[in-house]
Symmetry: C2
Subunit: 202 residues, 2 copies
């Protein structure tokens, strides 16, 4: 990504997001500065403003990028374990492991976005595509076991809050690195998700 010419031909936006995610991993959200990112991309400090009105707009674009990556991972898992009994455990693991690999993405994704509000108050389900992936995996199972519609929604929210809680936990200081290095620790995490192994038939 050192080719200055390439940015002049329409890739600067992509390059800024790429450098933004890299900086986030190294320095956290406070380390994000459009001026600094412009320097890293080898362009003038004014250049980013051709693509992003201000830093907030850049952060929103970065959130979209993170959400896209998370959803991609969840979608792969959903397709792979489709019709398997363990699909809900695998979906939960995928959600949590995304943040084990990218602990800085958690606060970025949820700090200024409407992703949580969308799910909690059901105001616009399309606003949280990660939740929608969990829903797509869980609904056929819950329906199969005859769980009524209203209960389904509460169970879905509970599942989401659980993996969201685990994600919040794994992003804390030193926990993600231990999970990356210690298979035993990862195993404990997986055990927690066995509560997802399926509801009893009604």
């Amino acid at each position: 990504m050192k080719n200055k010419e390439a940015y002049h031909h329409g890739n600067l936006q992509k390059a800024l997001l790429y450098e933004g995610l890299k900086t986030l991993g190294q320095k956290g959200e406070d380390g994000l500065s459009l001026r600094e990112l412009a320097k890293r991309c080898g362009v003038s400090v004014a250049a980013p403003y051709a693509h992003f009105k201000n830093k907030d707009e850049f952060i929103y674009a970065l959130q979209d990028e993170v959400m896209r990556k998370l959803v991609e991972k969840l979608e792969i898992t959903r397709t792979k374990y489709c019709e398997e009994k363990s699909i809900l455990i695998e979906m939960g693991m995928s959600y949590v492991l995304y943040f084990v690999e990218n602990p800085h993405h958690f606060s970025l994704l949820f700090s200024k976005s409407e992703h949580v509000q969308a799910v909690l108050w059901q105001e616009d389900s399309g606003k949280n595509p990660a939740f929608d992936e969990l829903r797509k995996a869980a609904e056929p199972i819950l329906s199969h076991f005859g769980v009524p519609q209203v209960a389904q929604h509460n169970i879905l929210l509970a599942m989401w809050a659980l993996v969201h809680g685990l994600a919040a936990i794994v992003c804390l200081h030193d926990i993600a690195s231990r999970l990356r290095e210690d298979p035993e620790a990862l195993h404990s995490l997986r055990n927690i998700l066995t509560v997802f192994s399926g509801p009893e038939p009604q």
Copy 2:
């Protein structure tokens, strides 16, 4: 708390913690400065160091204070709903509502502490007294329904992760204030916790 004399008679430590929690609610964790708190308490900037070696030590003391308040709330709920079927829902609500009332306490409590590690790796259960309260409420119920020991531990961790996840969510921008003002929103939250209404007999 304006009586300078009182601090000279051993209350400065308490006064600093009191002002610390107040500042946290107004300005967040970044607004905490021992120099500023000393000023608020009407003592010299050096005075706090008679009680706290440095800011980190002050933060740890503040975490203990927050944990004490949270546990107190959970203990009251546990005693009140002891032997009631809804005890797990009520315990979950108490945990979450503590952070609805005190959204700034969440990141303070979990940012630099070992409370999460203690629970996740079972390294020292005594280190997270809030989890211990949830455990004390849930164990008799899980045992009553014949849930085996290992499964009990995983269910407990899942319950804790769920309320922890909800707490993380309610501390996000604007969500706590909506929950404080909108009974309907609070009702949705309670519904999520109905997944706690008790396991099926084995």
